[in-house]
């Protein structure tokens, strides 16, 4: 008994110190007015009441929701790409490495590079668009486009991990199923739709869960691409986690920031629980 506890201690201690305790302290802070320094005072539900009436919070949730929906569009893309890579007979790992590179690249570097690509005056994207006679835009300086611009980067950055998970899922599908179906005259496309996708659905489901959670927590892109340069589009492009950072760490309102974090936690819980409910109708556990 004691030995067992000793063996799980390293993991448990880390879990409590790094996850559980900060979580509890955030929860408590969300009911307090916490000045930058000095004692906090309990204010009951004040933070939450203020939050509900705060247009900035609603807007930030709206931005995060839009971003999440857009990034989810990357999943069908990842499924198709994973299936295609599986078809490649030589150099499969080269493709995997190429798609995985963004995952191991420093987000700061990624953000900087994309800022150049999106630059309205000398950006690569506008240059390419000009070949097709399309007018360039200020992708990350015009609040109409920022969330879409972030989503494109988000999809690109998430692709590597998704491909690895989906690729592993593909390996687990028995080859016999494909052989049997081709004897029955099924083509590549029908095989993809009727065999690959259903048998891959547990992996797709897993990837979807991870993507939604990560997307709702998007922070680094906006921080690097907008904040560091005094961008005027920032006010209209804040995501919920960015707003949390701003309240808690720039404006010294830790209590209010904590309340935002708790609400986001609840939103993520609901979104995840909802997905588990919905999976019954489409995930096939063979």
């Amino acid at each position: 008994m004691w030995w067992a506890l000793l063996f799980i201690a390293p993991a448990t201690v880390g879990l409590v110190a790094l996850y559980l305790w900060p979580f509890l302290s955030t929860f408590v802070k969300s009911f307090q007015d916490v000045p930058a320094f000095g004692p906090a005072t309990y204010t009951g539900l004040d933070n939450y009441v203020e939050l509900v009436g705060d247009g900035e919070v609603w807007k930030a949730f709206g931005n995060s929701a839009l971003y999440t929906v857009l990034v989810l569009l990357g999943i069908p893309l990842a499924v198709v790409l994973a299936a295609l890579i599986e078809q490649v007979s030589r150099g499969r790992s080269v493709y995997r490495v190429l798609f995985f590179l963004p995952v191991v690249t420093l987000p700061v570097a990624v953000g900087m590079v994309w800022r150049f690509i999106y630059n309205g005056d000398f950006g690569l994207l506008n240059y390419v668009l000009s070949w097709f006679g399309i007018d360039g835009q200020f992708w990350v300086a015009d609040p109409r486009f920022t969330i879409y611009a972030f989503a494109a980067v988000g999809i690109w950055m998430g692709l590597g991990i998704n491909l690895i998970i989906l690729g592993a899922g593909l390996q687990a599908i028995p080859k016999a199923v494909y052989e049997a179906s081709s004897l029955d005259g099924a083509g590549r496309v029908r095989q993809f739709v009727h065999i690959t996708v259903p048998l891959l659905s547990p992996s797709i489901f897993f990837v979807t869960i991870l993507t939604v959670i990560a997307a709702l927590q998007m922070f680094d892109l906006i921080f690097i691409m907008l904040r560091s340069v005094n961008n005027t589009a920032l006010a209209d492009s804040k995501t919920i986690v960015y707003l949390f950072y701003e309240k808690a760490f720039v404006q010294f309102q830790q209590g209010y920031g904590a309340a935002i974090a708790i609400v986001l936690l609840i939103v993520i819980m609901i979104a995840t629980a909802l997905q588990f409910r919905l999976q019954r109708s489409w995930v096939f556990y063979g």
Partner: protein, 418 residues
């Protein structure tokens, strides 16, 4: 459903633990003490190292470790550290953050140190030293200061046949010159007009006779006639097309536009001098003139202060180090390396001599008519609202009066929360 909750909690946990902290540690077993000294500038770090080494030479028992943090992380790291007891011993402070730290008791009181070490507070620009005093106590000694001037590109002025700016210039001359210098065919603009408080509209509001924040600090003045005139100085330049648009300035910072010779004039501080000096493309092309005169002369000024952490394990050594930082030797090292304009009176000559191609005396002369950067209430919060409220005035979607009024209302709401 158990795995649902595991996933949910894991997600929650990663979210809620997204903070970090710096630490300072020392084991004074043999009377030797190590202090940490945090800053946010790669450019200035070598000078800080030199100061630390010089201090160590005078005080062999005290070693100072210089920590350079990236600007975007500096304040969150410092705040978390100060609240959690792991802050650096000495660190740079800014006027707009100062009040929260002083009020919260996070800073070591230097009032006695000033007396015992015989530090002459009148050696610093009053506008800067005043901003580091809270309830009559001194919590930081000015390290440097900056005032604003017109950085201009001589080559672009020559090409357009416009006379260089000088101390006779008023607002009208800037407006006229900016229009004449603008050449859309070449992609050159007369001036950069971003929504910039410190280098931009704070100065023009003051020059128009406005006050920004009312003297008692309980309300702002952005919508008064003087303030509106000060804001219009910039929106007029935007309207005339004499500046890159807000979107362009969001994509590419004003200073980068100036460095790539896309804009001929850039209102900003002395702190760019070293960067322009080191830029080979700008050799012989850049100089600086005083800000133009409105109804009167004015520039905001601010400066970094050196402050100490109240929870430091070595308060006596820390005070000694802070006194050293506030003294002439530290100032001279900064001046000689051209790092910044040191706050200590009479130590600025080496700084002037280090970059003789610029008329840097402009920045020192400006101390005479300088006004402290406005701070009141939760300064970071109301300053953070500026871009969103003023952008419609800048890009012409709203009359300046209306945008200014809305901004004032928003600022006053923040100030009322005190």
């Amino acid at each position: 459903m158990r795995h649902t909750w595991t996933a949910v909690l894991a997600a929650a946990a990663t979210l809620l633990t997204a903070c970090s902290s710096g630490s300072s540690d020392a084991a004074p077993s043999d009377g030797k003490v190590t202090l940490t000294y945090a800053n946010w500038s790669e450019d200035q770090a070598p000078a800080m190292e030199q100061i630390a080494a010089e201090f160590h030479k005078e005080n062999p028992n005290i070693t100072v470790k210089v920590q350079t943090l990236p600007w975007p992380e500096y304040w969150s790291t410092l705040q978390v550290g100060a609240a959690g007891g792991t802050a650096p011993d000495a660190f740079w402070m800014l006027a707009d953050h100062f009040r929260e730290y002083a009020k919260g008791g996070a800073l070591i009181d230097l009032s006695d140190t000033v007396k015992t070490a015989g530090i002459d507070m009148t050696a610093y620009p009053k506008a800067v030293s005043d901003s580091y005093t809270y309830e009559g106590k001194i919590f930081a000694l000015p390290k440097d200061f900056d005032t604003n001037g017109i950085w201009y590109n001589k080559a672009l002025f020559d090409a357009a046949g416009v006379k260089y700016p000088d101390d006779t210039w008023g607002w009208q001359q800037v407006q006229d010159a900016a229009k004449k210098l603008t050449d859309p065919a070449k992609g050159v603009w007369g001036i950069a007009a971003p929504i910039d408080a410190q280098g931009g509209y704070y100065n023009t509001i003051l020059q128009a006779g406005g006050s920004i924040i009312k003297p008692d600090g309980t309300a702002s003045d952005f919508a008064g006639p003087e303030a509106v005139a000060g804001l219009k100085f910039w929106t007029d330049l935007q309207k005339a097309g004499a500046s890159p648009t807000l979107k362009q300035l969001s994509d590419t910072e004003a200073v980068s536009m100036f460095e790539s010779q896309k804009v001929a004039m850039y209102f900003s501080g002395a702190y760019w001098a070293l960067r322009f000096h080191k830029n080979a493309d700008l050799k012989g092309k850049v100089d600086v003139a005083p800000l133009p005169q409105g109804v009167k002369r004015a520039t905001v000024t601010s400066g970094i202060g050196n402050a100490g952490y109240a929870g430091s394990k070595h308060p006596e050594e820390l005070k000694k180090f802070l006194a050293f930082l506030g003294g002439t030797k530290a100032a001279e090292i900064q001046a000689a390396t051209g790092t910044v304009l040191p706050a200590y009176k009479g130590t600025q000559q080496p700084w002037l001599d280090s970059m003789p191609e610029f008329k840097l005396q402009v920045f020192i002369d400006a101390v005479e008519y300088s006004v402290p950067l406005p701070v009141a209430g939760n300064t970071a919060e109301w300053q953070g609202l500026a871009a969103q409220y003023l952008a419609p005035a800048w890009d012409g979607a709203k009359p300046v009066e209306e945008a200014a009024k809305e901004y004032q209302t928003a600022v006053d709401q923040v100030l009322a929360k005190q």
